[in-house]
């Protein structure tokens, strides 16, 4: 996919819906915060287009706005200005409840601190998005088991998070992120709390998912981790400063 096509998607007439090759299209996203009287402009007009099956890393130093961008892309936050189409839907003007629906259906979060419910089993953690999607109990358990199989954890499904290692917890979180078949996996420093060996493990999981067609967007400040992606977008002072495609230096493994 050439850069021109992306730019086209991004700069085409405001209001026109981009075609459905694109999972994410943002146009002129701005987000400001009031920090004790001072206005912090976290995002100053971000134009970004990510199509299906891309594996993108978003990098930037602290203060670059990458966390804010992640929150906007993840529909946890709404921009003050600009437009955001997720999978063809204009989400930047949606209500809180509508955004919750979108998060449930379209986005699979993977967090640095795993964010699993500590007193629930791995299986129950994974089935949680399906609970909020209104899926019946039997069907939920079936799909949750399936998701855990994908990350090779089906034999630990009755364990609680405190009975699992860091790498296992992150894999449970990944299974949870995938269980409702989202448009994209949105990972925030997924290896931040893991040692280097476990980090590689998790990166292999992401590789596998990307190879089998999952769109993956990863926010990280570690260049070693970012190198696994096939496209690196660098944010600086609330704007995209570079956007490069590359071949990942880690060879692909079969899904």
């Amino acid at each position: 996919m050439s850069r021109t096509a992306e730019r086209e998607a991004v700069v085409s007439a405001p209001g026109a819906t981009p075609d459905n090759r694109w999972v994410i299209v943002t146009r002129g996203i701005k987000r400001e915060y009031d920090m004790g009287g001072e206005v912090v402009r976290a995002l100053r007009g971000v134009d970004l287009a990510i199509s299906r099956n891309e594996y993108v890393a978003i990098m930037g130093p602290s203060g670059s706005g990458k966390s804010t961008l992640m929150n906007v892309l993840g529909c946890l936050d709404t921009p003050d200005d600009g437009e955001y189409w997720l999978n063809g839907q204009l989400v930047s003007t949606m209500s809180d409840d509508a955004l919750a629906r979108v998060r449930n259906k379209e986005i699979g979060f993977v967090f640095q601190t795993f964010n699993l419910l500590p007193r629930a089993s791995a299986l129950h953690n994974v089935e949680l998005p399906l609970v909020y999607a209104g899926v019946a109990a039997d069907e939920r358990k079936r799909r949750a088991k399936q998701a855990l199989e994908k990350v090779q954890l089906e034999n630990r499904m009755d364990h609680r998070p405190n009975e699992l290692s860091g790498g296992q917890r992150q894999r449970v979180a990944i299974a949870r992120a995938l269980v409702n078949d989202p448009s994209m996996l949105l990972a925030d420093e997924p290896t931040g709390n893991l040692d280097s060996q476990t980090s590689e493990e998790i990166m292999r999981v992401f590789e596998g998912l990307a190879s089998s067609g999952q769109t993956v967007v990863m926010v990280t400040h570690e260049p070693d981790i970012a190198q696994h992606a096939r496209r690196i977008v660098v944010l600086r002072d609330g704007l995209i400063s570079t956007d490069e495609r590359r071949e990942a230096f880690v060879s692909r493994q079969g899904a």
Partner: protein, 414 residues
């Protein structure tokens, strides 16, 4: 999240924190316990009043013609009391015209009562209630002799000094002896015991068997009534309808005798079981109000306790709420989760309260004269009230939870 899921989650929460949950709902439990206990006791007394008590004191399908009410509420002003006492008495001469006007199936008996000194050769003197009556008294009161016999028609006509004694008097004045034929002195006047009456049971634990019955023309009766005066005339019909007709007839006859103008009220009393019940119903009303109001205060306190503990729970689970929201929980999902948790907690507390209340009521019934009847509706009401209190208490904490910003909540550490 469906309601069913929310319930599952709520029970899980209670299961994990049993002791904390118990202390959360203790106010509701206590409130419901006393609510159930009071309602059961009041209901039991009500049933007792209507079925047992009235039957013992006032014969069935009967009313009494009296100067003034026997059983009265007690909130009469001194002026009212004086006015009642100023009424003309019921005279022996009132009886024949009334009886003549009544249809043949009607039974009637005159009676007067008082407390007199009673003594036998075998025990010290005691003060006992004397009933000086006419012959149909025993029929109307459905009182028979378990030993000996009742006075004969002749004895009534002659005013013979014969007496039928109650079981307590027999036990006290003739211990271990057969009282029949023996002498009993009533206010010094020697009487012959002809019969012992069957037990009349008890009321609120007080025995009704300490009495003696004598023909109203017999000598001792002069101490319980003025000459030519009777305390009351009991008139009994075969049915409630017949009794009401008889009441109407009696009223008409008495009003004519007393030369009352149509606009003047009765200057006599026709007392029925209703009027005694009226007394009870008034008390019952007050008891019910108190019995509901006081536990309700406990429930209000219970609600405040639940609300505060839920607020703390929401604060402690902020991170969890953030996770749920990030996974797609809408505001209403979070609201539902916490309100159902709060309602379930309170309902469980209420169920415990119902069980305790029933136990408490039964305990009181067993060790005191107060009866208790557990009404099934009160069980459902108790649980319903509990759940309702829980829902109301949970609204504020649940809405705080629902309105949390997911990003801030996710950053929140436990």
């Amino acid at each position: 999240m469906s309601i069913f899921e929310a319930f599952r989650l709520a029970f899980e929460q209670i299961r994990v924190q049993k002791l904390k949950s118990f202390f959360t709902v203790i106010g509701v439990t206590i409130g419901v316990t006393f609510l159930i206990a009071v309602v059961s006791i009041v209901a039991g007394m009500s049933r007792y009043m209507q079925d047992d008590l009235l039957g013992k004191i006032i014969a069935v399908n009967s009313f009494e013609l009296r100067q003034r009410p026997n059983i009265n509420i007690g909130d009469q002003t001194p002026a009212e009391r004086r006015a009642l006492r100023a009424r003309p008495a019921i005279y022996e001469s009132d009886v024949p015209p009334v009886v003549a006007a009544l249809p043949p199936g009607i039974k009637w008996a005159t009676h007067s009562s008082g407390g007199l000194t009673v003594q036998s050769a075998y025990a010290r003197p005691t003060n006992v209630e004397i009933d000086a009556v006419s012959d149909q008294y025993f029929t109307i009161k459905d009182m028979d002799a378990v030993q000996g016999r009742l006075p004969s028609t002749q004895e009534f006509a002659l005013g013979s000094a014969v007496v039928v004694i109650g079981k307590d008097v027999a036990d006290y004045d003739f211990p271990g002896l057969d009282p029949i034929g023996r002498e009993l002195r009533i206010q010094g006047v020697p009487y012959s015991v002809v019969g012992v009456a069957e037990s009349q049971g008890s009321v609120f634990g007080q025995s009704l068997d300490k009495f003696v019955v004598v023909p109203e023309r017999s000598p001792a009766s002069r101490w319980v009534r003025r000459q030519h005066v009777v305390a009351g005339v009991t008139i009994q019909g075969e049915s409630d309808a017949a009794m009401r007709d008889a009441m109407q007839t009696t009223r008409e006859v008495m009003r004519v005798r007393r030369r009352l103008h149509p606009t003047q009220p009765d200057n006599f009393t026709l007392e029925t079981a209703d009027s005694a019940l009226e007394f009870w119903n008034k008390i019952k009303g007050y008891l019910e109000i108190a019995g509901v109001a006081l536990p309700s205060i406990g429930l209000v306190v219970g609600a405040i306790v639940i609300m505060n503990i839920m607020l703390v729970a929401v604060a402690e689970r902020t991170h969890e709420i953030g996770i749920r929201k990030s996974l797609g929980a809408r505001r209403i999902d979070i609201l539902r989760q916490f309100m159902v948790e709060s309602a379930t907690l309170a309902a469980v507390g209420a169920i415990i309260g119902v069980a305790l209340g029933i136990g408490f009521a039964k305990l009181i019934a067993a060790v005191s004269p107060l009866p208790a009847a557990v009404a099934v509706w009160s069980i459902f009401a108790g649980v319903g009230v509990g759940a309702g209190v829980g829902m109301i208490a949970g609204v504020y904490p649940a809405s705080r939870a629902a309105l949390l910003d997911p990003i801030a909540a996710l950053r929140h550490e436990n």
